[in-house]
Subunit: 309 residues, 2 copies
């Protein structure tokens, strides 16, 4: 029988990759051997973390077999998961997102907690099971927390995440601030990215009422660098909205030093961005969202409310 696969969402971020690797380590040490996997390219930020702690990236898969046993980490919405996920047998989910477009035919182990990062939950599970976290796994879990919390600055970051980060930094033998900033900067290096990369590398699709909304986010040290490509961005996003019948595509460039986001909105739902955030899009469909860094807590919730009105 094939090993149970553990994987996170499409367009993998550091939490998705590192949580899959760490949870595979924990499962293998406590119950059955499982195999970590990924649904897309490893980002520069994640690669920095993997290189720093000498861990190989998990294997790339695109779809899962009918009836295969799988464990999902860091997501539950089917449209963010592997192709064919509806025909797999999901035996566990470890996540920290809202629950939506998810269903199973049988009972399962589903653990979601409203914390900033899946890795924080997995760190807790190591303790519950009395298994020591190795230096490498501590590094992976720490990197995931730094990534999802923008170095503990995102409003999604809870006390549990902060405590876990400090504890894990010690086990991983790194300085939290120094390591964290280097990792984020590695990810914010967008110099070799095409416009297509920018709008797909961390894009997630959401159902909001009847509306189909895609939100792509990139971190940058200087968002004006990204918007040098504004005309190309508008043209590619417009094509994507039409090809995928989207009601809204929101491109979010997040300034990791100032903790604001400069967004570009395209689609018939752009009014929802204006009403939800109390901003006016400029002639290029752009607006600055002051203090907004979290897609999950500051963008998805606001837009879902708007689309359900």
């Amino acid at each position: 029988m094939a090993k149970t696969l553990i994987f996170g969402h499409k367009n993998p971020d550091t939490d998705t990759i590192c949580s899959a690797l760490a949870y595979a380590d924990l499962k293998t040490k406590t119950s059955t051997e499982v195999e970590p996997a990924r649904l897309g390219t490893v980002s520069k930020e994640t690669q920095y973390a993997l290189d720093h702690f000498g861990v190989d990236s998990p294997k790339l898969i695109e779809k899962v077999e009918d009836g295969a046993d799988v464990i999902l980490v860091d997501h539950n919405e089917f449209q963010q998961s592997a192709e064919n996920i509806g025909n797999a047998r999901i035996i566990e989910v470890i996540d920290h997102h809202r629950i939506s477009n998810f269903e199973t035919r049988e009972p399962l182990y589903f653990r979601a907690e409203p914390v900033g990062c899946t890795a924080t939950i997995i760190n807790k599970m190591y303790k519950e099971k009395g298994i020591a976290v190795s230096k490498e796994v501590a590094g992976l879990l720490l990197s995931a927390i730094i990534s999802d919390s923008l170095l503990l600055k995102s409003p999604t970051c809870t006390d549990e995440d902060v405590d876990a980060a400090h504890e894990l930094a010690e086990l991983a033998e790194v300085n939290l601030e120094t390591y964290g900033l280097k990792m984020l900067q590695a990810g914010a290096d967008l110099s070799d990215k095409t416009v297509t990369d920018l709008i797909t590398m961390d894009a997630k699709e959401f159902s909001m009422g009847e509306a189909k909304v895609e939100i792509a986010q990139v971190n940058a040290v200087d968002t004006s660098d990204i918007y040098k490509l504004q005309d190309e961005l508008i043209s590619e996003v417009t094509e994507r909205v039409s090809a995928n019948e989207l009601d809204l595509f929101l491109f979010v460039a997040t300034d990791i030093l100032n903790n604001d986001s400069e967004v570009l909105a395209i689609g018939k739902g752009t009014g929802k961005v204006e009403s939800g955030f109390g901003v006016t899009l400029d002639g290029n469909n752009r607006a600055l969202l002051k203090g907004v860094v979290s897609r999950k807590k500051q963008i998805v919730t606001v837009l879902t409310d708007e689309f359900l009105k």
Copy 2:
């Protein structure tokens, strides 16, 4: 601000009532005061347990207010929950069922485990939080496990449920077998039930692919007693199928001594019962399902597979 309400599913069974009461006790002892509630009449079985341990039944509610904080136990599917649940703020779910027709706008604490009873999970949570289970709460949790596992005989019953039951029987100061059989027999006393009672007292609706299926279950010491009312049953169920536009209504009379079920199926989906269980319905649309006692594990899964074919 109104207290957070904790409740289980409509047509409450013993697990739903006792888990709401027990989890309210645990939440109140560990974080915030919360109030247990119920969405329907307390069954004789549950009343036997409440009387034995001297606990009042939780308050009856029908709907929840817009934006109210709620905690769900023993269910997650919205059609089994309070009216208006889609507009409440679900902050926690503790459950042991499949996940379906459930969604939230924000992250939450969601804990589902594939065990036989929600009470088994709550018993574990007392331990995790280092809170002692009182004699009364032990009695409630035990009663829930006995009910959902048909005195540990259902295929849904796991080792965890068995261990919890023995441990809780000791804390509750009762003999597991003697107390359990008396409680089940109290519930199987159907002498005062009308046909309407029989088909609604423990009925749950399920979405299976495109199909709308309702499954009602009653426990009995002798199922032939129930089928003395066969003609009335057929007539009322037929009306209900038509009124609620159901594809299938399955009435399940479970023999608690022999652990079989005698079912009655009405609706255009009756063929799914025949193909799913390899039986032929007789002239009265009835069939004996040998060894079938669990709606969740032995009926819903089989029918869902059939409707998705």
